[in-house]
């Protein structure tokens, strides 16, 4: 009896126990199922399925992201790039012997002062800069010293591997890598935009042509002891600047040490009275306006006197001259009369259309505003007709000349390479200044000036060079200095279908014995252009050939030889 209640209880318990057991079984089963599922899934993922890569924080592939995009020339040659360089700093507390360390460091880095270093290294600071931006060789040498307490910090630096080449086009950056001159400045945002960091900026500059131009100009500057020079090579059909040189130049790798005069871009920022090159514009204007034709003539027997001013010829013929003769022999008297016939207003408008009365449009901030008279009187019309009394940058004149020879359209100059195949549209994009027919006439006049006239030293057999000399006296207080000249020459080739233009201007060349002490354009600038053309024409794929029958032959009949 005693047991019965227990049994009763047990009976009751049994039922409950049974229930708990069942519940446990269900839970166990669920867990087992879950584990089996996990196990199967794991095996499945690991062994059977093709695993899709799940981003583990990194996306894409690792690449070098330079802080600034490269600049390359039209053929992809690197002109500016960012490289890692080591900067040396020290922790003076780790330095064992400051005197010894300073002595050894100066031996490796001779531009540092030993006393200065000693003071730095024996200070109580924990961090002192010793030298920024070491060359790899210097870094190696410092490492080889084996001194404790010296450390390197890797920093990115802008490197211009071509040195002085195209320095004025490229410009340079400051210590923080911010562009402060040239295209580095103009395209600063584009170059430092991380989105474009991998994409180099491609310029229209051709490094080979840039070098040829700079080399020949340097040679001439030295030979004639000129103070400076500016030069431009341009594709007349696309407006692309293939080379732009300003002398003296500087090394953008060491821009800080360059004197301001060397950093000045004479080709686009400097404005000069370029002299007789402007006669091309005057003649084109007169021919296009129908004021004169090739058979017209002007009396150039006597100098023109206007007030206290006298217009003379540098190569006086003292006779009546035909239009081609006026151009070929560069007669100021003839061209001044021609400009008066056209009229000052028309002249101003024409030069304005050519973009010579405003700052040049180019991908540079170093552009110079032209200087011209406020009041355009007759005397101004006359002097401007032969390039005096108006100062413009050589680049603008190059652009204007390109419009004269390419069929008559002004195409904006650019430093950025045009994509291939864009050539056909370029002329349509340009603004028409003179008619095609006038352009052809101007071409034959330019050819005649080289073949028969003042620019004969620029001729290169086979390349059909045409061009115009420009010798201008530099203005000084109260007049002009006769002994200080700007000698310039603009050459175009090949003349039967003009493609390229070379313009050079030299500042105050001094005559030498070989040129009979002349420093005029025909002796200084024209031969330089001739040599440049001889060097660059094969690079540009211009075939040497014979003169094709064109307007030049007719023009030459109108030019009476000396």
């Amino acid at each position: 009896m005693k047991l019965s209640p227990r049994l009763d209880i047990a009976d009751g318990m049994n039922a409950k126990l049974e229930m708990t057991r069942n519940r446990l079984m269900v839970v166990i089963f669920l867990f087992a199922a879950a584990f089996v599922f996990l196990g199967v899934r794991t095996l499945d993922l690991g062994l059977l399925q093709q695993v899709r890569e799940v981003g583990s924080g990194r996306t894409g592939y690792a690449t070098v992201m330079p802080a600034r995009a490269d600049i390359v020339d039209r053929n992809g040659v690197v002109l500016a790039t960012n490289l890692d360089t080591a900067s040396l700093h020290a922790n003076p507390r780790e330095i064992l012997d400051a005197n010894e360390a300073a002595r050894l460091l100066v031996r490796v880095l001779p531009d540092l002062s030993e006393a200065d270093l000693k003071a730095k290294l024996s200070s109580s600071a924990q961090f002192v800069w010793i030298k920024r931006k070491l060359t790899p060789r210097q870094k190696w040498k410092v490492n080889a010293l084996g001194l404790p307490g010296l450390h390197f910090r890797i920093e990115e630096e802008r490197i211009y591997p071509q040195g002085k080449m195209a320095a004025h086009v490229l410009g340079h950056v400051d210590v923080d890598g911010k562009g402060i001159a040239g295209v580095e400045r103009f395209f600063d945002q584009r170059l430092s935009d991380p989105e474009f960091a991998q994409k180099p900026l491609q310029l229209s500059i051709d490094s080979r042509i840039q070098h040829a131009l700079a080399d020949e100009m340097m040679d001439t500057v030295e030979r004639f002891s000129a103070k400076g020079a500016a030069g431009v090579v341009m594709d007349v059909n696309t407006g692309e600047v293939l080379a732009m040189v300003s002398l003296p130049d500087y090394d953008p790798n060491r821009a800080g040490t360059a004197i301001p005069d060397a950093r000045f871009n004479r080709a686009s920022k400097g404005v000069y009275e370029l002299g007789s090159i402007f006669k091309t514009f005057t003649l084109a204007m007169a021919l296009d306006g129908g004021v004169v034709d090739m058979n017209s003539s002007y009396d150039a027997t006597y100098p023109i006197r206007v007030g206290r001013f006298q217009i003379r010829d540098d190569h006086p013929k003292s006779r009546v001259m035909s239009v081609p003769e006026i151009f070929t022999y560069s007669s100021n008297i003839g061209v001044a009369q021609m400009a008066l016939d056209v009229g000052g207003e028309a002249q101003q408008e024409f030069l304005g259309q050519l973009g010579l009365l405003r700052a040049p449009v180019l991908e540079l901030e170093e552009v110079g505003y032209p200087i011209y008279p406020d009041r355009w009187r007759d005397i101004n019309t006359m002097t401007i007709s032969y390039g005096h009394g108006i100062a413009v940058s050589p680049l603008q004149v190059a652009s204007g000349m390109a419009a004269m020879v390419n069929g008559g359209s002004l195409i904006p100059a650019t430093l950025i390479k045009n994509p291939d195949g864009a050539h056909a549209d370029e002329r349509a994009r340009g603004r028409r200044i003179i008619s095609d027919a006038t352009s052809t006439q101007v071409n034959s006049l330019l050819r005649a000036a080289v073949k028969l006239g003042t620019g004969s030293n620029a001729d290169v057999p086979g390349y059909r060079v045409g061009g115009k000399t420009g010798t201008a006296e530099k203005s000084a207080v109260g007049g002009y200095k006769e002994d200080a000249l700007i000698s310039s020459f603009v050459g175009v080739f090949p003349m039967d279908a003009p493609r390229y233009l070379v313009l050079v201007a030299f500042d105050e060349p001094k005559g030498i014995a070989a040129t009979y002490n002349f420093a005029s354009a025909g002796w200084v600038a024209a031969p330089a252009v001739g040599r440049v053309v001889g060097r660059i024409a094969p690079l540009l794929g211009v075939e040497p050939g014979n003169e094709e029958v064109n307007g030049f032959q007719q023009v030459s009949l109108l030019v009476e030889p000396d």
Partner: protein
């Protein structure tokens, strides 16, 4: 039955555990490998940038011109050295003979007195060893020459 089930479960757990363990480590290894590769790629790209800059530096026209002037006797080409178009070549005079190629190389020693016309000398003396003659004793070659000569003569 229960024991059997337990055994299976234990085995499965052990298997799954080992599998997971291996997988995890293999994945880790792969990850390290990928990271190493990425680091290598970055290092290579940096090296390429340096080499490109160096290439540009060593190929700068200024430097090349210096080197060429110092070590080579090369001069810039003149326009008359460039033939733009084959039609620029002048016609040869009628009856002329096509010059055989590589005259310089196949003439180890002088066989002719200076001044004698090289190609009209009859081959009385047999061609000497190592010397090819151009007088018709060369079989197929001479046919070609003959053909060219005929063509030339006929054209003018």
């Amino acid at each position: 039955m229960k024991r059997f089930l337990n055994m299976i479960v234990i085995m499965l757990v052990a298997l799954a555990g080992t599998g997971l363990f291996t997988l995890k480590y293999r994945a880790g290894d792969r990850d390290a490998e990928i990271q190493a590769l990425h680091a290598q790629i970055v290092a290579d790209q940096k090296a390429i940038r340096v080499l490109k800059a160096e290439w540009a530096f060593l190929n700068s026209p200024d430097y090349l011109q210096d080197m060429a002037e110092k070590h080579l006797g090369l001069r810039p080409i003149t326009p008359d050295q460039i033939i733009g178009d084959l039609s620029d070549l002048p016609w040869r005079r009628a009856g002329g003979v096509i010059a055989p190629p590589q005259v310089d190389r196949v003439m180890p020693r002088p066989r002719f007195k200076p001044g004698t016309d090289l190609f009209s000398v009859p081959s009385a003396e047999a061609p000497q060893s190592g010397v090819i003659s151009f007088d018709g004793s060369m079989g197929a070659n001479s046919d070609v020459l003959q053909l060219l000569n005929d063509f030339d003569g006929g054209e003018r």
